[in-house]
Symmetry: C2
Subunit: 472 residues, 2 copies
Amino acid sequence: MPRAGAEARAEQLATLARIRHQRLASDEVGRLLDQTTAETNGLPYESEEASLVRVARREWEKARRVPAELRGEITRASSLAEHGWVEAKRRSDFAAFLPLLARNIELKLRYATCFEGFEGFEQTYDPLLDDFEPGVSTADVAALLAELRDGIQPLAAELADRSGAIDDSCLHGRFPLDAQARLAREVVEALPLERDAWRLDPTVHPFATAIAPSDIRITTRFDESYVGTALWSVIHEAGHGLYENGIAPELRRSPLARPVSLGFHESQSRMWENWVGRGRPFVEWLHPRLRRIFPGQFGVVDPEALYRAANKVQPSLIRVEADQVTYNLHIVMRFELELELFEGRLELADLPEAWNARIAEYLGVDVPDDAHGVLQDVHWAAGSFGYFPTYSLGNLIAAQIWDAARGSLPDLDGQIAGGEFVPLRDWLRERLYRHGAKYTPKEMIERLVGGPIDVAPYLRQLRERAAEIYGV
Amino acid sequence: MPRAGAEARAEQLATLARIRHQRLASDEVGRLLDQTTAETNGLPYESEEASLVRVARREWEKARRVPAELRGEITRASSLAEHGWVEAKRRSDFAAFLPLLARNIELKLRYATCFEGFEGFEQTYDPLLDDFEPGVSTADVAALLAELRDGIQPLAAELADRSGAIDDSCLHGRFPLDAQARLAREVVEALPLERDAWRLDPTVHPFATAIAPSDIRITTRFDESYVGTALWSVIHEAGHGLYENGIAPELRRSPLARPVSLGFHESQSRMWENWVGRGRPFVEWLHPRLRRIFPGQFGVVDPEALYRAANKVQPSLIRVEADQVTYNLHIVMRFELELELFEGRLELADLPEAWNARIAEYLGVDVPDDAHGVLQDVHWAAGSFGYFPTYSLGNLIAAQIWDAARGSLPDLDGQIAGGEFVPLRDWLRERLYRHGAKYTPKEMIERLVGGPIDVAPYLRQLRERAAEIYGV
């Protein structure tokens, strides 16, 4: 967007948000819900009709609490803050960003107060989190992330000391962009997205989005000096795409036609990226392809060396470039800071200092400036509070699902090594993807693994891989 | 879009069209209009308030005639037809496209019948035309385009016989795409769009669109073997952008924040492309730039040769590649065929034959297949009937405005030759751009030139240029 368009864009988005909210929160929707509730009484909980009414009703009840003007203003302020953030980050100028961030937080605090007495909400942060992870409470997340932090910190420290032992130089060098684009396309084509239902395009910040389950957009960026960026980011985004692509046709164009939650969405990008994509069987599949496309770099690299390079752990400053272990510490500290801000235990002006102290404590690295610290992510500018923790929840859920899939598919490793990804996808479709948002996160994890979200499987898997690679 | 997304896209667009229509045609808007009409009584006709109410009321009155379901269905059918057209064109298969086109026409006929008795509408085609050219009737357009056809045909035939006399080989050859992109950017930067309020990006089919007057998107395509494509298409699209960019800030986000009509919109793209961009003064400004960027091709070409090459006239098959003279014959025959279809004088199955006969008659060229004939344009697939004639109206209006501007700006040629485009833009802003849609096409042309839309100035200008270049 040209810079002069920022203000008009903010107004346009605010108008759309306000209109959408008015329609959702209308009396008419309430009447329709009452009517359909009567009609779906007695239908099984998991029937499409009962699920549709149940999910829509909760969304309507939440929307009724929030004035349309506030909804529009949140959208307007965050759109303006996003544009201000671009400039503030460029100049590493937190002071310039502060009033925009303060406005976002003020509005989200007003938003949170709309939910006083709402069933299941006990803390200010609960309604913020609930928008991304329905039915999951701040207390749930705080307990999980504290346990995760306490498990990750010693592992990260131990591996950091040994990161010199891993040679990942094969992933660095000069990788012409057109060859990387061919590689990325070959990888996505191998993953079992429906034919003619996706596109892969270059972008600045990789993302995946579903215009519809039959219209998946995967984007990636290419770094000429590091082939890992495009490779694993494409698998990550394709994982998001596989989920959306697998939502049952009969749910399409309904409130159920979306993943269970952001945590579950992220579980699929992480599972395909890290447990499939950086696993030994996939690396065996990948190796001849890398060697064919980049014979100079991979001619003398064996699959085992590639596997080790793909799993190097090393603390760093930037979340989106972090390895799969230390990544969680970036998330935990953001969650902790958000909570402190929303509970009034941290002044906004003190945020950069608190950020830098936490990074030093958890990751042992120094933040040189705010552009590489508190200003690195767009999320807070975009008004997304309660969003970051879903990234680590995704890691936890991914590990639990991965255990379950491996248990059900005894030949999974062999299938992946042979480029057969359909059995895994179909297993996930049947149990997770096709159901859309019929179930809450708590219901879905229970259905999938017979228990709640749990930190242990993830830590165990990380330690197993670390043992293989680092011998610790 | 991936192919599998077409159906979902059609549904999404239909939903948006239906919701927009319901809101526009609502009783509530009617009440607001009644209230504001009372408030604006006595205000001058050209005041913002009175104009806003007047323009919004007519839009509301038209919308009230049309069921929201029909509006949605028109959108859905045309979205599906667009995707079917891509495939049908690729295979040059009119039979495959016929049912989709038949559906579009059937729905537009139903649409037209909604307006029985509506003030000013006398023929079936009137309401279709009115959506693009408010207040201009089929009879008006039929008379103008018949006169235009009768004036253009002999001129085109005469110039076709002499087209061998014009050497435009300097525009053909090998023009690296990155150098063309630099040229295109340099040209748009020279045209006086507001700073930071536009982008220029590559595309398949060039267009310009305004997300807001402060957010102008210009796109172009590059043909490695012909530098003219990017060059004049960029000036054309920038002309559209200059108009939208000049709409007064106080009209923004209102029904007045758009050009008078498509004819007026096109008048500005055509005027900047053909009367500015292919004129001798601009070519003098352009020449050293072309020589600097493409020294091999333009090193030995003088400005006069470039001017002649830029204005070569030669009948051809494809409208979007046609020169500025024969272009009008492409438009006239489309308008005539549309009218015959909507008045029941032509069977849809006979359309390709009628097309080919008309092209042979008007342009003296043979149509080898439907891909290069009746299937070449997306417009009918997109459900746009009544749209094509606005292209030629744009040519007529451009010529009239150009005469007026030259009369008011005695040093216009010198300014353009010196790269000073601001005086022309400001003249246009003051009289045309800033007013948005306050005036109807008939009112605006009267204000600008003191008379109605007229064919004579355009024919005179074309003949003058032909005389200079061809000596006829």
